[in-house]
């Protein structure tokens, strides 16, 4: 934990759980991406944490932005960033939202279907489109479904359809899966992208860009490779598959940009057992799945937790949230080791919570306020 966050929490007024993000760490992360991939543009995935202070910092550092909606585009423009620094990366867009983005100056759009191409051709004439191809996401900790992207064999038809409808068939995008610990994932995806480039060249259309997506991990409980290792692996794969005709490239870090910059302070509300013989204690916090820890769904993301009793002997606990919803349990299949001396009322710190926490919070399920957020 940074000294700045420690100081902030010491002086905080107010009750209930909160997340605190340290902008110094975000700045360091941005620099690490730029250094690791100097010829690649960084498009911050706004959905990871759209706090205005984070967006303004990244705007000042020169970052571009990956937006999921017109709402997010508005947040980015509010920092003063030019619309040319925005990619509308959601493959699922209402035609009137495409038109609104186009009016606002956005010219780069993601597609994965003929149907979406037609909407963009009508609502954003002449815009650049990247066709997203499916990746299997093997090695990623946050599940990647088939929701985004088309079969790579269909991508040339989608891009040719764009070209024939007056759009700029601009390139290929993919996503290797969030919290991706396997450096080889980009090699596999870049091979697919290069195949699409070749097929399009054969059809007389020269693609120019590869959007290599996000997936850069945050360190939770397990060690992950550092950003420089990702940079080397990705550059090697680019050279392997594109030779000396490297395309323009962009990356979209979200979790990798802000995940380790924030932590949540929470309180132990109850520690109890279900029967006199139970060996596993239940530890209930004042935060759970519905107020910021949604990524514990299926126990996918396993956050590091620090307590004021660290160093004491530990024992396995089920960890649950404060709502009257039986699915509001974070870790049960794989119980969490916590100090035996942990007590009701203790404040604990849940680390690496800068990404995918604030906006995942419900508006007020069970009458509990949304997660309080501070960016310092």
């Amino acid at each position: 934990m940074s000294e700045r966050i420690r100081d902030f929490l010491r002086q905080r007024q107010g009750d209930g759980p909160c997340v605190v993000v340290d902008l110094d760490i975000v700045r360091d992360n941005y620099s690490a991406f730029v250094k690791a991939l100097p010829d690649t543009s960084v498009y911050y995935a706004v959905k990871a944490n759209p706090d205005p202070a984070i967006l303004s910092l990244l705007e000042g550092l020169g970052s571009s932005f990956d937006c999921a909606s017109v709402g997010e585009i508005g947040m980015v423009l509010a920092t003063g960033a030019d619309a040319s620094r925005i990619s509308y990366g959601n493959t699922i867009k209402k035609e009137r939202d495409i038109a609104r983005a186009y009016e606002l100056g956005v010219r780069l759009f993601a597609v994965d279907s003929l149907e979406e191409v037609e909407k963009i051709a009508r609502a954003a004439p002449g815009a650049r489109v990247l066709c997203r191809v499916l990746c299997d996401g093997a090695g990623a900790e946050w599940p990647l479904s088939r929701k985004f992207g088309c079969d790579p064999a269909m991508a040339p038809d989608v891009l040719e359809h764009a070209h024939r409808n007056g759009l700029a068939a601009y390139g290929v995008s993919f996503h290797v899966g969030s919290q991706q610990a396997n450096l080889g994932a980009w090699d596999f995806a870049l091979a697919m992208a290069a195949d699409v480039f070749k097929e399009m060249a054969f059809r007389g259309i020269e693609l120019k860009m590869v959007n290599m997506g996000g997936g850069f991990p945050t360190r939770y409980l397990k060690d992950v490779p550092g950003v420089p290792s990702y940079g080397e692996a990705i550059f090697a794969a680019l050279v392997k598959h594109f030779g000396n005709r490297l395309p323009a490239t962009i990356i979209e870090p979200g979790r990798g940009m802000v995940g380790n910059a924030g932590l949540i302070e929470a309180e132990v509300v109850l520690i109890s057992r279900k029967s006199a013989e139970d060996t596993v204690r239940w530890v209930y916090l004042d935060i759970g799945k519905f107020h910021g820890l949604a990524e514990t769904m299926d126990e996918a993301i396993r956050y590091p937790i620090r307590t004021p009793r660290d160093g004491d002997a530990t024992a396995p606990c089920v960890l649950a949230g404060p709502t009257c919803d039986s699915v509001d349990v974070m870790y049960e299949k794989t119980p969490y080791e916590l100090p035996v001396s942990l007590s009701i009322g203790d404040k604990i710190l849940i680390e690496a919570c800068g990404a995918y926490t604030t906006t995942y919070s419900t508006v007020g399920f069970n009458g509990f306020a949304p997660l309080a957020s501070y960016v310092i």
Copy 2:
């Protein structure tokens, strides 16, 4: 769909998905519960839908209220209801929240552990406590974990601990699992409750109340027994296990009170395929798991969907939400049959959405606004 909702939607201004709840149907549901179990008090589970108009209607009809937090207690008191009509039913409470509820006049609390009894003894001296016992939830569509309740064998110790600490050891509570279609579930749970009553009588403490919880279903795609059937089954089980010394009883319908009173109007944003050979279409809506349809988690709740093309030939579809999150998919393992003629831009109606939708919505994940809600 009620004529009133149809009229409202025809005249609605404004873009984006919304839920509309018809108070006439809530009134009918309340009457059905009172008629089915005339000697049982109805405590509406506020968490299902805390809209002020719903709370005010139920206050006027004479309902009591089951609250999960001090926030919900405040919402109920705002209707003018007396605090004696409130049960603080969450077994996980901060001691300062118990103190606040006590200050506000609340005198009925749920517990499932010795530790929670001690908090209540300190912060709400003399209050009545109900000890919640574990049910296995077999037959329920929404999963019931071991999160709430203790082993029935431990309940007498919890209640005796309350008695020895100056509290009124008042009774037993249980929950048979949400969307419970098995009428026999209450028989099993009431047998457990009766055993606790006997053991406490043996210890010289006379319990007075059984909180029979919720679980009353809403009709989604499958038929469910009507409220009168539940009333008969529950009354028969009460007589079987308590004979002619029936305890005071309460029920806590949430889904059963408001589920069928509301529906969501949404829009088809995209219909596409992942490859030229795909037989299953992907249908993307402007609402998903993060903006109201959280209960589709693990495809648990399967909502009825009406489209303007109903009657046309159908084919299986994967149904997904609008966010850039790969888990924002409602039905994939079991695809959903929708008309082949369904088109981008069509408005569809998702029925039985009055419960567990509005407050489950995120504050703004992906830059999309929380679910709009209207109560008419």
